[in-house]
Point group: C2
Chain length 231, copies 2
């Protein structure tokens, strides 16, 4: 963190990665944070991230640093914002390119087991965060806002589920992310009119009437980014 005189600005890449995790109160929108093991803000929780490598792209860097610090691999990754206020880090100028990401619920536990999660990673309810290092509270707030926003006008929510899902499962994701109940019938009609949502042959059999499984047509674009594709 001590800058060389001829290297005054450093570029970091961090990622706010969301997933849904089961709690007593039902599914909760959560985010993994990493405990800082050096100054500044030693011991505080911070977004996973690291320094940008000169030979890697921004998105690749987000994926790498996320994997190195948490062992997680996102099912959706998108740039959030570049934070570069002069005073956001003490005694060193850091510009942080921040990404936000989604991780399929069915892969969370699996990846956590596989990577035997570092002891200094912990998941937090996004609505109940501690005081984070640097300006990371503000960053997470913004990421949550963007997620909630995008869920309401795109089909990004499906990135939190496996390829095939029932409408009730998808609706549960919407409800958890948006924090409000949705009418099942209206939800169904809204999505069924979306072309890209295609019914499969399978059904999810459970405690009651089986529910049809759906998947999204991969070709139709998930959530347009305008004329942008990669970073």
């Amino acid at each position: 963190m001590t800058p060389a005189a001829d290297d005054p600005i450093r570029v970091a890449v961090s990622t706010a990665i969301f997933s849904l995790r089961a709690r007593e109160s039902g599914d909760v929108l959560m985010i993994p944070l990493v405990r800082r093991i050096r100054d500044p803000h030693l011991g505080q929780w911070a977004l996973p991230g690291g320094w940008l490598d000169a030979a890697e792209g921004l998105e690749a860097s987000a994926g790498r640093t996320l994997a190195e610090t948490t062992g997680l691999a996102p099912s959706w990754l998108e740039q959030l914002y570049a934070f570069g206020a002069v005073d956001r880090t003490p005694s060193s100028r850091v510009v942080s390119i921040v990404y936000w990401a989604l991780l399929r619920t069915d892969l969370v536990e699996q990846q956590l087991r596989a990577a035997e999660t570092p002891r200094n990673v912990q998941w937090f309810d996004v609505d109940d965060l501690p005081e984070l290092a640097f300006d990371h509270n503000r960053i997470v707030d913004y990421a949550v806002w963007r997620l909630r926003n995008k869920v309401s006008y795109s089909r990004i929510a499906a990135a939190l589920l496996p390829d095939e899902f029932t409408l009730a499962e998808l609706r549960a994701v919407y409800e958890t992310v948006l924090g409000r109940r949705l009418d099942p019938s209206n939800f169904r009609r809204l999505l069924e009119g979306s072309e890209a949502l295609v019914p499969t042959d399978g059904v999810r059999t459970g405690s009651h009437r089986p529910a049809r499984l759906y998947r999204y047509d991969r070709d139709a674009d998930v959530a347009t980014h305008g004329p942008l594709a990669g970073g």
Copy 2:
């Protein structure tokens, strides 16, 4: 542009600044570009910008580099995206934090005169751009997309006009930016229901019936950025 070995990543800040300028065919959405005076891409047109200074914020840097290269001061400024692909610049790693901006139509000529515009600045129709340096064509495309997008859901368009304007003037801005005609009556009703738009005492007297002047309440937020205020 030749990097020192111990300074592998450099941070640049560029700005795509839009204004409306009168042409034979009516007002046109235009953008100023700067002719490069050094390699790489010597002689090609590029977005105004420069290197981030270690002691200035990102937004401040956008304003400064814009002023230094073009003599213009934006009436609206907002971050667009961070571009950082490894191959976007030859033999040097540059991460560009790109801003997009609006300049009030009544200030364009005024600022151009005051600053006696550098000879290597030229305005281009955004729908008729030459081949630009680096990945700047892609960047401008994205900026135009964001502008058009934001115009349709926010009141950002007013940033292209003076504080007071008639509804017809504002509608003309919308029509130029969006590239399609809007119904005057519906446009009026849509905006009059917006609370933040307040009629003034003045009228614009011209060739026919005088039109009421309006202004936007500065307190009501122009175009919400979520929980974000500055960079």
